[in-house]
Symmetry: C2
Subunit: 212 residues, 2 copies
């Protein structure tokens, strides 16, 4: 079982504040993400800046692509993204088209999806999945439980690299002990802390304590 | 049954080409849309420019929001959007949060959804639905059929304002005769024509011939 990576999601409302935080934590984390909110606010410049600032890191674009997979993925790839997300409700032709244009496509799991569908995503060339506790669902009182962990395990057993996100903190990572997680994704749990660089290091220390 | 509106989707790769086409057809159409591809490339500027250029038209932002509904909708609304799209796979809390921040939310129907779910969207404050032939599915050989029309009718009967999109041309509008369509959405069927303004007028003439 590989040591999970740490992904910093830049989901800021504007590029200056996103890049300020990215600059603080970029060399501590393994993956930098141009989040959905940031992409919708600032466009492809967000990906281009992260790529230019961190040439040796993995850069993820998170448009949650639902259609026009070839165009959206080609645009994200040419801006510098290594990985791109698609929404699980996207059609298989969308997923297949996207998979040809970036190094890896990550299917983001929202709403009602089934493991039967997940098999078809693998056939479409999708290599990764993001198991997501919705921000809004968390705000409505949800949280991580054994039911979630069981799904993460099953997706990993199927062959997906599984990243997890939503309400994670260093002290909640132990919930995932023994689970083959590709990356833990944190945004405000890093950027909203008084010392974002310290917060990112706390995540990394806990990851290496458990999986190292 | 009201006369369906005509919506021009700007799904260009950059703002200059989008605004050039919007300028050509803006006073012919009823609704202008900052499409997903354009938003991801250029960010909120795309909405702001359409709002400024067409203060009296309905402006739609099409982020296909899947999460963080309050933030994404507030950002779209403050940029000038009247309507915003959410993906049907979004959670109900996401939809409810979005519905508070823009005048109307349109749920975009992709993948597997059910009419039972659609009832819950109405309860969440969603007033409109977009019945979508996926661009990638169309490229793979799909098309409009009676099965699609039946779903559009049923959604309209439930109370949704239903817009339709995907591979539409003036000559295909007659398929929808007798169906209560809120808006026909066309992008490249207008912008890729030699005379986009003429193409938009052809759509409007056919709409008014059938529903006028």
């Amino acid at each position: 079982m590989a040591v999970p990576k740490l992904q910093f999601a830049c989901d800021h409302a504007d590029l200056p504040s996103a890049l300020a935080d990215a600059g603080k934590v970029g060399d501590v984390v393994d993956i930098l993400e141009a989040g959905t909110i940031l992409l919708l606010q600032e466009g492809r410049k967000a990906i281009q800046c992260l790529r230019a600032m961190f040439p040796d890191k993995i850069i993820v674009a998170d448009p949650k692509c639902a259609d026009a997979g070839a165009v959206v993925a080609a645009n994200c790839g040419s801006a510098g993204a290594d990985f791109m997300t698609v929404i699980c409700a996207a059609s298989l032709p969308t997923m297949k088209a996207a998979a040809k244009e970036v190094k890896e496509v990550q299917v983001e799991l929202f709403g009602d999806w089934t493991f039967e569908q997940a098999e078809t995503w693998l056939d479409a060339g999708i290599t990764q999945a993001i198991y997501h506790q919705s921000r809004d669902a968390l705000a409505a009182g949800g949280g991580w439980g054994e039911k979630d962990l069981e799904k993460v395990r099953r997706l990993a057993d199927m062959g997906f690299g599984v990243s997890v996100t939503g309400g994670l903190k260093p002290e909640t990572l132990r919930l995932f002990e023994g689970v083959d997680v590709y990356a833990f994704i944190a945004g405000r749990a890093i950027s909203a802390e008084p010392d974002p660089r310290r917060a990112a290091s706390d995540f990394q220390e806990e990851i290496h304590r458990i999986w190292g």
